[in-house]
């Protein structure tokens, strides 16, 4: 993944103090935009990507040559209508699509950071990407929108910059990463670090990639993005290109083959160390604790209008965790709407063609938008 000339980047000169205590400056932040900014600069939407997403929200991703991760929701006449809105998305710091991350060169040692890269948090990610608003001269966003880890960034963004957005749409997320969430992330990290090729994070200098470990991490995570019912309906016990069981450990079942495929394509586009860093950022996310056990306090200074969305079959960030956000907002009289969308596509519902979701997101944005 060296062909990155299609990536737009700004260099952030202003020092950023990370939660771990380290200060970073002169670091790159990669981003992409869609649509155009109006004269009043009032139509900007910051989209925050999830764990394995990147700034290439929609259309063809120039690096992977695949459709952007939110092509169903973002584009002309879609839920986030790029004919109308100016969409900005930044690659998170710690990521591997051009923003400052563990695959970059450490200026002090002139070597690739690897695990010498500082541990970052959702707070750090948000504090880095707010620089894009200054870059475009945007005082206030029309909206900040994101699902999963993107939703956590939405919450943190509004908390950190209460006046910088008119509306906020956290989708399928949580205000505090649960033990189960952390457990699954740890499983992924262990798979990576247990791969001999990981070499304490120094695999690049050895011209290696911990492919097996990263693929297993992706496979395990992928299961958590789907629902039992969805899996059963799509795969059941169907066999993979064979009439009968082979009494071996090849992929007899379609679900095995599917997961192996998901793992194998993932290693081509994602960096193993980035996976460690970003999952860590998610695990450290606890907005409730940050505000001493009272989530409402995170939002007490904002006038933003919220719309929280969850999905019936999402067991990774279940409705109750989304509802806790709604409850905290209602407790302080914030303007908040909430709906749980019926879908059997699990946590991934927000990325997929779920018409009720896409329609409702569009309705909320379009009805809230005043030029």
């Amino acid at each position: 993944m060296n062909i990155k000339e299609n990536i737009k980047t700004i260099i952030i000169k202003k020092p950023l103090k990370l939660d771990c205590g380290k200060i970073i400056n002169n670091f790159p932040l990669a981003y992409e935009t869609y649509g155009s900014l109006n004269a009043k600069k009032s139509n900007a939407i910051l989209v925050c990507h999830a764990l394995t997403g990147d700034q290439f929200v929609t259309g063809l991703n120039p690096i992977t040559k695949k459709d952007g991760w939110w092509s169903y929701a973002v584009g002309p006449n879609k839920s986030i209508d790029t004919n109308k809105y100016f969409v900005i998305c930044a690659n998170v710091i710690g990521g591997c699509m051009g923003s400052f991350g563990p695959s970059h060169i450490n200026p002090e040692t002139k070597k690739i950071f690897g695990t010498d890269f500082p541990v970052i948090t959702i707070n750090d990610i948000v504090n880095a990407q707010v620089n894009l608003l200054d870059h475009f001269g945007i005082k206030q966003l029309f909206s900040v929108v994101g699902g999963s880890m993107g939703g956590m960034q939405v919450l943190q963004f509004v908390s950190n910059f209460p006046e910088k957005t008119k509306t906020a749409v956290p989708i399928a997320c949580t205000s505090s990463h649960s033990a189960q969430n952390i457990a699954f992330n740890e499983l992924g990290r262990q798979a990576i670090t247990a791969d001999h090729n990981w070499s304490d994070g120094k695999y690049t200098s050895k011209n290696n990639v911990p492919e097996k470990g990263l693929a297993v991490a992706r496979m395990a995570a992928h299961i958590t993005y789907l629902s039992k019912k969805g899996l059963q309906e799509k795969f059941g016990r169907k066999l993979q290109e064979r009439d009968d069981l082979k009494f071996g450990f090849d992929a007899d079942f379609q679900i095995e083959s599917y997961l192996r495929y998901q793992g194998s394509v993932f290693v081509d586009r994602f960096d193993a160390n980035s996976y460690l860093y970003i999952t860590r950022a998610m695990d450290y996310f606890d907005l409730v604790k940050q505000f001493n056990g009272n989530l409402s306090n995170a939002f007490k200074n904002t006038k933003a209008k919220f719309f929280v969305i969850s999905f019936t079959s999402d067991w990774l960030y279940p409705t109750q965790e989304n509802k806790d956000i709604v409850i905290a907002l209602n407790a302080i009289g914030t303007d908040v709407g909430f709906v749980e969308i019926e879908s059997d596509k699990g946590h991934d519902s927000f990325l997929l063609d779920v018409p009720d979701f896409l329609k409702t997101l569009k309705n909320f944005l379009d009805k809230s938008y005043i030029e």
Binding site: K305, F307, V326, I327, N330, A331, G333, D335, V336, G337, F338, V339, E340, I341, E342, D356, K359, T360, N363, F364, K367, S368
Partner: protein, 202 residues
Amino acid sequence: MKPEYKIIMNMINEKSRVLDVGCDDGILMEFLKQNKNVDIRGIEISKEKVQTCISKGLTVIEGNAELDLKQFPNKSFDYVVLGQTLQAFVNPEIVIKELLRVGEKAIVTIPNFGHWKVRLNLLIKGTMPVTKTLPNKWYNTPNIHMCTIKDFFKFSETFNFKIFKSLALINRKVSNINYSNLFIKNLFSELGIFLIEKSDEN
């Protein structure tokens, strides 16, 4: 639009904070927004109806009044409206208490089971009444706690809340209900509309 919406509107002050419990497809919310410039929120149990409300630009949360009113602080609204759904709750007394905790005042409307047609229906036919305001059969009705206007008066005494205003809707005409005309109003009203408030001693 339901005939009682105008009556409800007249009970509500300009620019007040209103919560519509069981806001359905948001028609009352829109009406109050347009005519009284209120800051209005809704709570609705049906996903489809929540989505309809969102498509109208209304702030609505999906939820169940019996479980989800508790997230609102005391007196966070000037008015809480409960339109024709009190009889559908498992615990109407808890709902009323919650309405009066969350709102300074509450506006409650009830389909009157004391209406003469309902009484006659049961008396003559001997079957559970089906009328214009109560169109369901006994087995598919959401109304599990039907009451009459007189029952609501008694309810207010038992649970110690004040009825500020009580209005009867008879053939789209509005009239006051008081203890002296209660017998007649309970016989002829299709709907009772009550503006209520927590008693001071509560």
